[in-house]
């Protein structure tokens, strides 16, 4: 069964460094998402992406964040200058769009980012 894959599974970085988290969505899916979960808190929406552009973003997704689908398979989240509060589990998700959209999101296993 096809799955969303994410790399790396865990990344440790120094404050102020740039980080790129990578995701390979399920191949025939058209909608892509990034969510994050700070330890002990809820899963929060960051951004959705469709047709090579951002369709919606949250207040969290400020100028330090960007997303890209560089080659038709990868979907990346870049954090330009990491802050301590960016430490979280980042989840990528994708969903198909069919005639009978079920609304289900398919999640990756997550990338844990630790900012020191």
């Amino acid at each position: 069964e096809p799955e969303v894959t994410q790399t790396p599974s865990h990344q440790v970085t120094q404050m102020g460094q740039e980080v790129i988290l990578r995701c390979v969505p399920i191949s025939n899916h058209l909608y892509f998402y990034w969510y994050r979960q700070i330890l002990g808190q809820k899963v929060e929406f960051l951004v959705s992406f469709y047709n090579n552009e951002i369709s919606e973003k949250s207040e969290i997704f400020d100028d330090q964040f960007s997303v890209e689908r560089p080659d038709g398979s990868n979907f990346t989240l870049k954090i330009r200058s990491t802050k301590l509060e960016d430490s979280a589990m980042y989840f990528c998700a994708s969903s198909p769009r069919t005639g009978s959209d079920t609304g289900e999101l398919f999640f990756g296993e997550g990338s844990r980012l630790t900012v020191l």
Partner: protein, 112 residues
């Protein structure tokens, strides 16, 4: 604005006892409600959605628009039900596939 509230962070239930995980929502339109589950060391996955009115792994959930609730229920808990459960809401918009808003989650532990 859309909001999902799960009042219980932790819930422990004996095996064979009934389970109810509470979920309340706030949304001005007609939402779609979902329950997602995350078993230990596994990814977040869909358990059930209100529009399909199905029972999955013995779990059911009924959307009560009057009480703005979508509680998850199972009559007889099993050990394998131990997991983190998230209630989620999707609003209807013109964007197409609208984002999900999650509750804070309830960690369910089934006591053998």
């Amino acid at each position: 604005a859309q909001r999902v509230t799960q009042p219980e962070k932790l819930l422990s239930v004996f095996k064979g006892a009934p389970v109810e995980l509470k979920c309340n929502y706030s949304y001005s339109g007609s939402p779609e409600l979902f329950w997602y589950v995350q078993y230990s060391r596994q990814r977040l996955q869909l358990l059930l959605r209100h529009i399909s009115r199905e029972s999955i792994k013995g779990f059911t959930a009924d959307l009560n628009k009057g009480e703005t609730s979508f509680h998850l229920k199972k009559p007889f808990a099993q050990e394998e039900d131990s997991a983190m459960y998230y209630c989620a809401l999707r609003g209807i918009s013109n964007f197409g596939n609208e984002k999900l808003t999650f509750g804070t989650g309830t960690r369910l532990t089934i006591i053998p």
